[in-house]
């Protein structure tokens, strides 16, 4: 019986490359990983957005309307619906002047009960120290 913690750290902007999208889809895939593992074993993902990566976390992304593409907004909401631990770096939001009301903070509209957290970088550093493996995207 073991839980392995995986820390996804998103530092790239959305859409231009697939990094942030694949980070979310891989993190969400943790829901079904048990089929490959022994009873009681599991993985626990945390997703942190730092640097330019915080630009993934803005509300009202209309990528589906314009490009037929699931938005990063939808991915973040899906991960909140699954009660995943999602963190945004406060210093980077401040640097860009992005305020909480511009951000995807919850997934209430799809029935989610978990909120995203705005945390200082020091908290993200702690996540990096506590996880078993780091996956920077």
């Amino acid at each position: 019986m073991a839980i392995k913690k995986l820390g996804f750290v998103v530092r790239t902007m959305p859409y231009k490359i697939e990094g942030s999208r694949l980070a979310m889809t891989h993190a969400i895939a943790s829901q079904t990983v048990e089929i490959y593992l022994e009873d009681g074993d599991n993985v626990e993902p945390t997703v942190c957005f730092i640097g330019d990566g915080v630009l993934n976390c803005l509300k009202s992304q209309q990528a589906m309307k314009h490009y037929g593409l699931t938005s990063l907004e939808q991915h973040i909401k899906n991960s909140l619906l699954l009660d995943m631990n999602v963190m945004y770096c406060k210093e980077d939001l401040d640097k860009f002047g992005i305020t909480e009301n511009q951000l995807i903070m919850d997934a209430e509209d799809i029935g989610g009960e978990t909120n995203a957290k705005i945390v200082p970088y020091s908290e993200i550093q702690k996540v990096m120290e506590s996880v078993d493996h780091l996956l920077f995207c």
Binding site: A2, K4, L6, T12, I17, E18, G19, L22, A23, T25, H26, A29, S30, Q31, T32, V33, I35, Y36, L37, D41, V43, P45, D132, H133, L134, L135, F136, C137
Partner: protein
């Protein structure tokens, strides 16, 4: 001896990051370690069979075949990523598997070290 899991999202040719992943896998296997290589996103192109060797493009298929033969190396491609790109099951390189993304997380679970190449 340990287990290294390498995850790559990079493109087949053009981005030497995927060459790096394969050469690192080769060096690790030579030292007796075992390696899982997960190719996702554009990296799934590595798993396409029938790649022609040109001197102007990376040609990694041969090294992968040699690595499969050691029994210390697994390569798995993301199924959805491959289908989106028009690669179907029958297009997959011999020895390479196809699974959904949870396979990669399970491989990370049992890995001693994970090197995740996230960029393009």
């Amino acid at each position: 001896m340990g287990k290294l899991t390498i995850g790559s999202f990079s493109s087949l040719v053009g981005s030497v990051s995927l060459d790096f992943a394969v050469k690192l896998a080769q060096a690790a296997v030579q030292k007796g370690h075992s390696v899982d290589l997960w190719v996702s996103g554009n990296g799934t192109m590595l798993s396409k069979k029938g790649q022609r060797a040109f001197k102007d493009y990376s040609y990694l298929a041969k090294t992968c075949q040699e690595l499969f033969a050691t029994g210390k190396f697994q390569m798995t491609a993301c199924e959805a990523c491959a289908e989106a790109r028009g690669y179907h099951k029958e297009d997959t390189m011999e020895g390479c598997k196809r699974f959904s993304m949870d396979w990669y997380l399970a491989s990370c679970f049992s890995a001693d070290r994970v090197l995740h190449i996230g960029g393009d």
